[in-house]
C-alpha cells in the first residue's frame, strides 16, 4: 500500500516540478521579451528626443552660439534616462555639453554608426547593458550642421522590468491562491475518489472485507512474519456449504446479505491482528497469527463452524449455511501465496467431501489424495469421452431363495485403466459424484447394460431383470434423468419392466428428488432400496414412492444366524416388507447358513458371493448354464 502511495506522491511531485519549470520558462521568456521591447521603445523615444533637441539646437550650431546651445541642451537635465549630452559642430568641435559624462572635445569625423575610438575608450569600463551613447545628426534642409551625442542609461528600463516582474509574480500568486481556494471542493472530491478507488481495489464491496488481492499481500506478510518470529501462523480456506442453494432459492440480494453476515461472524471469532477476506464467490480466507500449535488453529476453526450453526438473520427469510474449512499451518516449505492457497483449498475440499461443516488440516496425504482424485477425474472423463474405453459392467446374480433360479442381476460398473489396473467403484464413483461425471457414467452404464443384454440374448440367455444403482447425485438433475433412461432403453428395444433402479435410503430424504422418484414410477421402472437399515429409514417414504423391493444390508446378513439381534432385525424387516407387499433381497450372502436362515424366514431373493460373484457377461453365460433349469 505504502509503495503505491509513494508512487502517487512522486508522480505528484514530478507534475508539480514540470508545471513549475514551464512557468519559470514562460516567465523568463516574458522578461526577455519585455526587455527587448522596452529597450527598443526606449531607444526610439530617445532618438525622437534627440532629434527634437537637435532641431532646437540648429541655429545655435549654425551660428556657433555656445550659450544658446547650452540652453537648448539644458532641457536634457530633466530626463532621467539621459545622463549626459554634447553638441558637436559639423567640424567635430564640441559646442556645448551637459551631464556627468565627460564628452571628448573633438569628435572624429568618421562615417557609419560605430563609436569613435575616443568614446569607445571611455566606455571600456561600462557594458552596453547599462549605458550607451546615442548619436544623432543635426540637419537643416538636408545639410548636416552638427552631431548630438547623448549618454543614455538603461537603469530605468531595468527598474521597470523589475516592477513588471514583481507585478507578474504578484498577480500569479494571487491567481494561484484564488484558484487553489476555489478548487478546494474539487480537490477534496478527487481525494475522496482516489480513496474510494483504493478501497475498491482492495476491498470487497459486498462484505466490506479485504478482497483477494489484499489477502494475498497479507499472506506474503504472514509468511515472512511466521518465518521470522517465534510464533507460527495458520491459513484457513473457507468455503460456504450449500451457498448456491441460498442464492438460488432466496435470491442474490439475500445471498449478498448472507455473505455480509458470514463475514461479520467470522470476524467476531478473530483477534485484532488476524485477517479475514472474501476471496470471491462463496470463499473466504483467514490468516491467524500467534498460532503456537495445531490445536490452537483447530480451536479457532471449530469456533467458526459453531458460530455459523445459528441461522443467519437475513431478510425476508433467515438462511442457514455450513462451513468447510481447510487449514494450512505456516511456515511451511513454500512461500508462494498461490501455492499456499491451493493447499488450504485441497484440505477444504477433503473436508467438504467428508461430510461438510467441518475442517481438515492439510497434509501430504491430502495432497496426494486430491491429486489422485483429480487424476481419476481426468481419466474417467477421458474414458467416457472415448465411448467408455476401459469401463465395463459386471453382473452379480440374484437368485430366488427357494428355487435358486436366476431372477435377475445387479449391474456393477468396473474400470480397467490403461495401465491394466482394476479400479474399484469405491474409488472412482465418489469422484464421479463430486465432479458431476456420475450422470454421464450412469447414462453409459445403462447403455452398456442394454448392449450386454443384447449380447446375452444372442447367446440364448434372457436375463429377467437388471438392477442398476442410481446415485443421489443423479437425482439432482431432475426428471430429465428418467427421460434419458427411457430413451436409451427404447432405442435398444428393451422393455421398461426389465429394469430396476437401486437407491440408498438417504436418496428418499431429499425433497428435490421426490419428483424424480415419482417420474421413475410413472415410467414403469421399479425402485429398490439398497443397504436397507443403515440410513434413514422412513416407512412413510417407502409407501410414498411406491418402492417395490428392499435389500437388507450385508452388515445384518453377515452376523446371521448366530447373532440374535441381527436375526431379529432381519426377521422384522422381512415381515414388514411383506406386509407392505415389498420384495426382500438379502445382500452379502456368503455362507450356506446365512442363505438357509434367510430362506427359512421368507427372504425372497439372495445375492452374495456364496451364490455368485460379480462377473462379466461371458462369465455370466457360463454361470447361467450351471443353474437348475427353469421349469
Amino acid at each position: 500500500m505504502s509503495s503505491q502511495q509513494d508512487r502517487l506522491g512522486s508522480s505528484k511531485r514530478l507534475s508539480l516540478l514540470s508545471t513549475g519549470l514551464a512557468l519559470l520558462i514562460a516567465f523568463f521568456l516574458l522578461m526577455v521579451h519585455q526587455y527587448v521591447i522596452g529597450r527598443q521603445q526606449m531607444l526610439e523615444e530617445l532618438r525622437t528626443e534627440a532629434s527634437i533637441i537637435g532641431a532646437t539646437s540648429v541655429a545655435a550650431l549654425v551660428f556657433n552660439d555656445a550659450e544658446a546651445a547650452q540652453e537648448t541642451m539644458g532641457a536634457l537635465r530633466f530626463t532621467p534616462r539621459i545622463t549626459g549630452g554634447a553638441l558637436y559642430r559639423a567640424g567635430g568641435e564640441r559646442l556645448a555639453a551637459v551631464g556627468d559624462f565627460l564628452f571628448p572635445v573633438q569628435l572624429a569625423l568618421s562615417g557609419g554608426e560605430t563609436l569613435p575610438k575616443s568614446l569607445q575608450l571611455l566606455d571600456a569600463s561600462s557594458v552596453s547593458l547599462w549605458d550607451d551613447i546615442l548619436r544623432e545628426d543635426v540637419v537643416i534642409e538636408g545639410d548636416k550642421v552638427g552631431t548630438l551625442l547623448l549618454r543614455i542609461s538603461f537603469l530605468s528600463l531595468y527598474w521597470r522590468m523589475l516592477e513588471y516582474a514583481l507585478g507578474v509574480l504578484g498577480i500569479a500568486t494571487v491567481a494561484l491562491t484564488l484558484a487553489y481556494r476555489l478548487t478546494r471542493g474539487l480537490r477534496q472530491r478527487m481525494v475522496l475518489a482516489e480513496e474510494q478507488l483504493e478501497l475498491m481495489a482492495f476491498y470487497d464491496l459486498v462484505t466490506d472485507l479485504p478482497n483477494r488481492r489484499l489477502f494475498e499481500r497479507e499472506l506474503r506478510l504472514a509468511v515472512a512474519r511466521s518465518t521470522r518470529g517465534p510464533m507460527g501462523a495458520a491459513l484457513l480456506f473457507i468455503d460456504i456449504d450449500d451457498f448456491k442453494k441460498v442464492n438460488n432459492t432466496l435470491g442474490h440480494a439475500v445471498g449478498d446479505q448472507a455473505l455480509r453476515l458470514i463475514g461479520q461472524r467470522l470476524s467476531s471469532v478473530l483477534r485484532s491482528g488476524d485477517v479475514v477476506a472474501r476471496l470471491g464467490g462463496d470463499e473466504f480466507g483467514v490468516i491467524l497469527y500467534g498460532i503456537s500449535d495445531p490445536e490452537h488453529a483447530a480451536r479457532v476453526a471449530r469456533l467458526m463452524v459453531e458460530t455459523l450453526a445459528e441461522p443467519l438473520q437475513t431478510t425476508p427469510t433467515p438462511s442457514h449455511v455450513g462451513l468447510s474449512i481447510g487449514v494450512l499451518l505456516l511456515p511451511c516449505d513454500d512461500s508462494d501465496p498461490t501455492v499456499l492457497l491451493q493447499r488450504a483449498d485441497m484440505a477444504m475440499y477433503v473436508a467438504k467431501t467428508h461430510g461438510k461443516n467441518g475442517f481438515r488440516f492439510y497434509s501430504d496425504a491430502i495432497d496426494a489424495r486430491v491429486r489422485s482424485d483429480l487424476d481419476i477425474e481426468a481419466s474417467l472423463r477421458g474414458a467416457l469421452q472415448h465411448d467408455g474405453s476401459g469401463l465395463w459392467v459386471a453382473y452379480q446374480p440374484q437368485l430366488c431363495a427357494q428355487t435358486r433360479q436366476l431372477v435377475g442381476v445387479e449391474a456393477l460398473v468396473r474400470w480397467q485403466r490403461d495401465d491394466g489396473q482394476q479400479m474399484s467403484p469405491a474409488e472412482f464413483v465418489p469422484v464421479a459424484e463430486q465432479t458431476g461425471l456420475i450422470n454421464e457414467l450412469g447414462d453409459w452404464v445403462l447403455s452398456q447394460v442394454c448392449r450386454d443384454l443384447a449380447i446375452l440374448r444372442t447367446h440364448g440367455v434372457e436375463v429377467p431383470k437388471v438392477s442398476i444403482n442410481v446415485s443421489p447425485h443423479q437425482l439432482l438433475h431432475g426428471c430429465s434423468l428418467v427421460e434419458r433412461f427411457c430413451k436409451t432403453i427404447l432405442s435398444f428395444g428393451e422393455p421398461v419392466s426389465r429394469f430396476e433402479f437401486e437407491l440408498i435410503e438417504s436418496a428418499l430424504m431429499d425433497e428435490d428428488g421426490a419428483v424424480v422418484l415419482e417420474a421413475f414410477y410413472q415410467a414403469g421402472f421399479s425402485l429398490s432400496i439398497d443397504d436397507f437399515g443403515t440410513g434413514y429409514s422412513s416407512f412413510g417414504y417407502l409407501k410414498r414412492f411406491r418402492v417395490s423391493e428392499l435389500k437388507i444390508d450385508q452388515s445384518f446378513v453377515r452376523d446371521l444366524p448366530h447373532d440374535s439381534e441381527s436375526g431379529a432385525i432381519v426377521k422384522a424387516v422381512i415381515q414388514m416388507a411383506h406386509a407392505l407387499s415389498l420384495k426382500v433381497v438379502g445382500e452379502g450372502v456368503e455362507t450356506q447358513a446365512q442363505a438357509e436362515f434367510l430362506r427359512i424366514h421368507g427372504c425372497d431373493i439372495l445375492q452374495g458371493y456364496w451364490l455368485g460373484r460379480p462377473i462379466s457377461p461371458m462369465e455370466l453365460l457360463a454361470y447361467v448354464k450351471t443353474l437348475p433349469l427353469v421349469e
Binding site: T56, A59, E93, I140, G142
Partner: protein, 179 residues
C-alpha cells in the same frame, strides 16, 4: 579624383564651417566682414520666402549695391550650396532688386534705403544691414558687433510686412527682436 558637385560643395561648406569654427574659437580675430557675411548667409537657412514671389526658385540670390568689405566677403561665398540650391552673389542697382532673396545695404549706402525699402516690402526681399539705426529705417536684419561678438537684431514687424517668415529658432539668438 572624380567627385560629384555636391560632394565638392559639401566639403566646401564643411571646410568653411571649420574655418568659421576656428574663428569662433579665437573670437578676438578681426575677420568681421567674413563673419557678417557668414551670418547673413546662414540666416537665409532660417528664412522662408512665399511661393508667388518674383525670386528665381533654382538659386538663392544675395544682392549688394556697392563694393565693400562685407560685399567682398559675400562674393567669396558665391556658389555655396544652401538648402540644396546654389548661392548667387550679385551686384544690383537700387531700383532693380525684385529678384533678390536678400539685399545687403552697407553703411555708406544709406541714401538708397528710401528706394530699396518699398521695393523690398513689395517683392519680399530680406534687407540686411550692419549699421546703427538701420533697423529703424526699414532694414529687417541688422548686424552689429557687441563686446567682440557679432550679433544681430531683427525687426519682426518689417519681416511680417514683407510676407517673409523667420524661424523662431534663429530669433532666439537675436540680441534684439522688435515686434
Amino acid at each position: 579624383m572624380l567627385m560629384s558637385a555636391r560632394t565638392v560643395w559639401r566639403t566646401g561648406l564643411a571646410l568653411l564651417l571649420l574655418a568659421l569654427a576656428a574663428l569662433a574659437q579665437a573670437q578676438r580675430q578681426a575677420l568681421e566682414p567674413e563673419l557678417k557675411a557668414a551670418i547673413l548667409v546662414n540666416m537665409l537657412l532660417f528664412v522662408d520666402w512665399p511661393n508667388q514671389n518674383t525670386q528665381p526658385t533654382a538659386q538663392i540670390t544675395v544682392c549688394y549695391l556697392g563694393i565693400g568689405p562685407v560685399s567682398t566677403a559675400l562674393m567669396q561665398l558665391d556658389g555655396k550650396l544652401l538648402k540644396g540650391k546654389p548661392l548667387r552673389v550679385v551686384r544690383v542697382e537700387a531700383s532693380k532688386i525684385a529678384h533678390c532673396h536678400a539685399l545687403y545695404v552697407a553703411s555708406f549706402e544709406a541714401a538708397s534705403l528710401t528706394h530699396v525699402v518699398p521695393q523690398a516690402r513689395t517683392h519680399g526681399v530680406l534687407l540686411v544691414g550692419d549699421s546703427a539705426g538701420y533697423l529703424q529705417r526699414g532694414v529687417m536684419l541688422n548686424l552689429d558687433v557687441d563686446r567682440g561678438r557679432v550679433v544681430f537684431d531683427v525687426d519682426l514687424n518689417a519681416v511680417r510686412q514683407t510676407a517673409l517668415t523667420i524661424s523662431s529658432k534663429v530669433l532666439r539668438l537675436a540680441r534684439q527682436v522688435i515686434e
